[in-house]
C-alpha cells in the first residue's frame, strides 16, 4: 500500500457525525470484523481486512508512544480512549476518537478487542497535533526499542503537569455535544 502513497496529495476525509466505525480484533490485534462504514471510509474490501493486523491503517504521524500506552491500558483490563490519525487505502487520512475495550467471552476469557470510533471534533484534533509532533520528534532521537516508552512517559508527565490523567485529558477534548456528561 505504502508505495501508492504520495503525501503531497494526501487529503483529509471525514467521518460523518452520525456514523460509527466498529472493528473487532482477536487478542493479537488481527482484524476479525470491520463494519461497512469502515470499509467505505478506509477504502478496503472485507477480503483485504480479515486476518490482517490492525496497524495496517497506522499513519506515520502517530507516535508509537500512544500505541504503547493503549496496549498497556488494555492489558490492565481497562478501556482506552485516543485521538487517532489513520490512513485510507489510497493514502488519504482521517481523524477519529477511538474507544477500545477488551472483549471477554462468557467464561471471562479475553477474546479480542472491540473498537468504536467516533468523529473527534476539530478542537481535539488541533490540540493533539502539536503534542503528537513533539512525541514523534522525541522518538526519532531515540532507538526503536526505548522510543515508545520514553515518549509515553513524556506524554504522561506533560499531562500530569496540567493536572490531567491521560483519560481525563482525552475526555476533556470532546465537544460538549459528544459527551452529554458534564465533568463532575
Amino acid at each position: 500500500m505504502a508505495s501508492q502513497i504520495h503525501p503531497s496529495q494526501s487529503r483529509e476525509v471525514q467521518l460523518k457525525e452520525d456514523e460509527l466505525i466498529v472493528t473487532k480484533t482477536d487478542s493479537t490485534g488481527h482484524i476479525t470484523y470491520a463494519n461497512r462504514v469502515f470499509m467505505q471510509l478506509a477504502e478496503y474490501p472485507e477480503s483485504e481486512l480479515l486476518g490482517k493486523p490492525h496497524n495496517l491503517i497506522r499513519h506515520p504521524d502517530m507516535p508509537r508512544g500512544v500505541y504503547r500506552l493503549m496496549w498497556k491500558t488494555l492489558q490492565a483490563g481497562r478501556e482506552f480512549f485516543g485521538v487517532v490519525k489513520n490512513y485510507t487505502a489510497s493514502g488519504n487520512y482521517y481523524w477519529v476518537l477511538a474507544n477500545v475495550t477488551p472483549d471477554y467471552d462468557s467464561k471471562n476469557k479475553l477474546e479480542g478487542y472491540f473498537s468504536v470510533r467516533r468523529p473527534p471534533g476539530r478542537r481535539a484534533v488541533e490540540t493533539v497535533i502539536p503534542i503528537y509532533a513533539r512525541m514523534c520528534q522525541l522518538e526519532s532521537t531515540l532507538n526503536k526499542a526505548s522510543a515508545p516508552d520514553a515518549s509515553m512517559e513524556w506524554l504522561l508527565a506533560e499531562l500530569d503537569k496540567q493536572g490531567h490523567s491521560y483519560e481525563s485529558f482525552v475526555l476533556s477534548l470532546l465537544d460538549p455535544h459528544l459527551s452529554t456528561g458534564r465533568s463532575a
Binding site: 457525525e17 476479525t32 461497512r36 472485507e46 467471552d105 462468557s106 467516533r118 452529554t180
Partner: protein
Amino acid sequence: MARRTSPFLRTRLGFWLIGFNVLTICTVLASLLLPDSWRLAVEVFLVLLSLLLSGMIWLGSGRIFTVLNTLHEQLGYACDGELHHRASRTRDMGEVGLVAWELNDFLDLVETYFKEINTSFRRVSENDYSRRPLSQGLPGMFAESLQNVDSAIQAMADNDGYIRKNRLSSQLAALNNPHLRHNLASNQNDLTQISTAMDQVSSITRDTASTSRDSLESATLLTGHMDTIAGSVVSMNEASTALAQEWTGIESSLAAISAIADQTNLLALNAAIEAARAGEMGRGFAVVADEVRKLAERSKDTAHRVQSVLGSLSSRISDMHARASEAGTVAAEVKASVETFHQRFATLAEQSDTVLGQVQRVRDMSQVSLQKVGHVMYKQMAYHAIEEGAGLPLSNDLTSWCQGEGRNSFGATRAFGQLAPADERVGKGVELALSTASNKQTLDEDAIIQHMRVLEQDSAQILQLLDRMVEEKHLH
C-alpha cells in the same frame, strides 16, 4: 447507510425458472415434432441439462444457506447474551448479505450501547463519576437511553458529593466542637484571670489613694505645727527686745542711785563740817538734814523701782522659758510627722511597683488572649473553607505576630521558641486539608479528618505554649 439494493436472488430465481420452463417447452416440442430416432437422443440431452441446472442451483444456493445458518446462530448467541459474534464473507449474497450486514450493524449498536453502559457503571461502582456514557453516533432510543443514564449518573454524582459533604461536615463538627468549647473555656479562663488581676489593681489603687489622702492630712498637720513654731519664735523675739529695754532702765536707775549716793556722801560731809562749827547756828544743818532725808526717800523710791523691774524681768524670763519648751514639743511632733510621711511614701512606691507588674501581666495576658482568639478564628475559618470547598480567605495573624510584636514581648521565653514551628505545622495542615478538600473528583473525607486531627493537636500545643509564655515571663 444506503447500500447496493440489487434484487440479486430474485433475478437468479427468475433465470432458474426461465431455464426450467425452456427445458420443459423443449421437451414438449421434441416429443411432438421430432422423429422417434432423434427424440430419444434429444430427451436424454434435455434430462442431462436439467440435472446439470439442478446441480448448479443446489451448489449456488448452498452458500446462501450457510450464511442463513450463520445468521441463525448469531441470533441464537445474541439471545444468549453474547453480542460479539458477527457474520463476515457475505459477498454476492444479495438480500441475504444485506440482512447479514443489517444484523451486524444492529449488533454493533447494541454492543456499543452496552459497552458504554457497563463501562460507566463499573466506574460508578468504583466511586468514579467522570466516565459518562457517550451517546454520539447511536440512533434514536439508544442515544436517548444513554442520555438518561448520563443524567442518572449526574444525579448519583451530585448525591454522592452531597452525602460526602454532609459526612465531612458532621465529622468536622464532631472534631471541631469539643476543641472549640475547650478553646472558648480557655479564653474565658483568661478573661477571668484578667478580671481578677484588674480587681487587685483596683484594690491597690484604692489603698494608694487612701494612703495619699492620709499623707495629705499629715502634711496639713505638719504645716499647722510649723506655723505654731514660727509664731513662738516671733513671740520670743519680742520678749528679748523687751528684755533689752528693761535692762537699759535698770542701768539708768542704777546710775541715778549712784549719783544720789555721791550727793548724800557730799552732804553728809558738809553737815559734819557745819555741825562742828556752829551748834546754834545749826539751823542750816536742819536744812541739810532735810535734804539728806529727801535723798534717802528718793533712794528708797529708786530701790523700789529696781525691785519691781527685776520682778517683771523674772516673769518675762519664765514666760520665755515656757515658750521655748513649747517650741521644742512642736519640733518633736514635726519630726514624728515627717517620719510617718516618709514611711507612707515608701509604701506608696512599693505599691506602685506591684501595680506596674500587674498591669504588665494583664497587658501580656490580653495580648496572648487576643492571639488565642485569633488562632481559634483562623481554625474556624479553615473548617468553614473545608466544608465549602473554598479557598482560605483569612491569613494567619499569629505568624506575623510571632515575627513582630510577639518576639518583642516574649522573645526571651523558651515557649516562644517552640511557637513558630507549631504554627508552621498548623499552616501546612490547613493547606493539606484544603487541597484534599478541593479535589472535586472524589472527596476523601478520611484524609481530611486525619489532617484536621493532627492540626487540632498542634493547635492545642500552640494554645498551651501561649499560656506558658506569659507564665515564664512573670515567674519572678
